[in-house]
Amino acid sequence: MLTEELVDLSRLQFAVTALYHFLFVPLTLGLAFILVIMELTYVITDRPIYKDMVRFWGRLFGINFALGVTTGITMEFQFGTNWAYYSHYVGDIFGAPLAIEGLMAFFLESTFIGLFFFGWDRLNKWQHFMVTVLMALGSNLSALWILIANGWMQNPVGAEFSFVTMRMEMTDFWAIVFNPDAQAKFVHTVSAGYVTASLFVLGISSWYLLKGRDLDFARRSFRIAAGFGFASALSVIVLGDESGYTVGEAQQTKMAAIEAMWETEPAPAAFTLFALPNQKAERNDYELQIPYVLGLIGTRSLTKELPGIKEIKEKNRARIESGIQAVVALEKLRKNRDDWAARSQFDLHKADLGFGLLLKKYTVDVSQATPEMIQKAVDDTIPKVAPLFWSFRIMVALGFAFLLLFSLALFYSVKGNFIEKKWLLRWAFWFIPMPWIAAELGWVVAEYGRQPWTIYGVLPTHLSVSNLTPANIYGSLAGFVGFYTVLLVVEMYLMTKYARQGPASLGTGKYHGEKASGGALPADAPAQKI
């Protein structure tokens, strides 16, 4: 039996596991490339300090990777356990990129991560450098295929519904691979990962500098993080803007909800900087707007209009009414495949089949849907506006704060006096968690903003879930939350422990707290308060 409770619990379970999984991913994506930069510097200059940097930051990378491993697998398993109808309906398309991602993760990424850690004594420095490059490519390519799958959920191209197999079937693999939504999502997501890792290295290096320890090591790490972080923060904003543009093309509903844009405004639409969205009255209270900005981001033009929520709802009403015809024709075709009248009716309305299926939440026989049911389904097509509005704005504000921080870090790195800027070092240290918050909010915008669909315009969320009992989900959800909390504590403990030890954890005898040789401060050097 399907209940609202079951649907909401299944969504909550997936959200919890996905958000948890994404605590590990961005650091893996970004730190791998920072290791490439550090190791390239090592192979070119042959200075052992860069090798120590690769080994130390690589150790933190390894802890993050090991603790993150398998958290992604639980999500893939959930497609089968919690979302079985979704898996049947779109498995023909969704399965391919997911399988390629699995191959990338297991055979490329994992293999080279093993070689990275255990190959120092077996490979020459150029060979080891190539291993690091392939490890970074493996982790990023693995993200590419997942985001191709996710991009298809946002903008389902290259596929068609078959009433015989009752599922979507792939018609154009390359359209799926080069889906503009997937490409924009990929570059935006990996850039966000690079920012996360850069701030991680920058913040920990700042901590060493504030403590006055491992100065040479921290200074070089800081400089690399500042340069890479500046480029990444700039990319994440530019590519986020590109992502906003493609969202505007494919998912105007999401764009209108993010912007709390109730009415269609004359082009170019204004960007709402602050407002209290009032979904019941379909208006904003206390609105503060910047003219033209939204129209330029969303359409790249001064003349194209972006539809407001009210206009979108009216379009959706028409699609739901057309979708009723598609569902009725489908029901006839399932009884008799040779019913040509039904076939032609289905072909005429099949683009709106998903919208007709929205009514299944309120009636099993959609041909008997009342105007009240249709109105409810129309209202359902708009996600809750306030969480999207605020999540998006906090994410964007953090993005600009990262750009400012990295700009200043790079500026003072070039000037060579960043060690004197204690306020900058403190800012970098205390800002370490912020990229994770921004990234999680980004996923809230992407996934919550797609509701009520699992596949936008094709398959409603409430028809995608497996027939489990709420007790099953309550139990497994409690298990995941409890266990993942423990894992997070272990991750934080290990990261903090090895970060506090610093490069001394490598046991080279050159760093803070080891038998001093080569300028390291003694372990009992007075610590400074941050």
Binding site: M1, L2, T3, E4, R59, G62, I63, A66, L67, V69, T70, I73, T74, F77, T81, A84, Y85, S87, H88, Y89, F117, F118, V164, T165, M166, R167, V327, L330, E331, R334, L357, K360, K361, Y362, V364, D365, V366, S367, Q368, H462, L463, S466, N467, L468, N472, I473, G475, S476, G479, F480, F483, L487, V490, L494, Y498
Partner: protein
């Protein structure tokens, strides 16, 4: 004769990570067997048609 530990288990961090991964696999498998094993859903075309394209289907919301 006692066999030497694999290289990655010879340091403390390696042992901690190996233990964490082993516990993870056990707990995730336990969650699967406790709450999902045996709850198979038929997803052949007829079963999906029954869910999506049957005006007599019995569901509750």
């Amino acid at each position: 004769m006692k066999l030497p530990l694999p290289v990655f288990l010879q340091n403390r961090l390696g042992r901690e990570i190996a233990l964490a991964i082993a516990i993870k696999l056990v707990v995730i498998a336990a969650i699967f067997f406790a709450f999902f094993h045996g709850n198979t859903v038929a997803t052949d075309p007829d079963a999906v048609a029954e869910r999506l394209a049957n005006p007599q289907q019995q569901t509750t919301h």
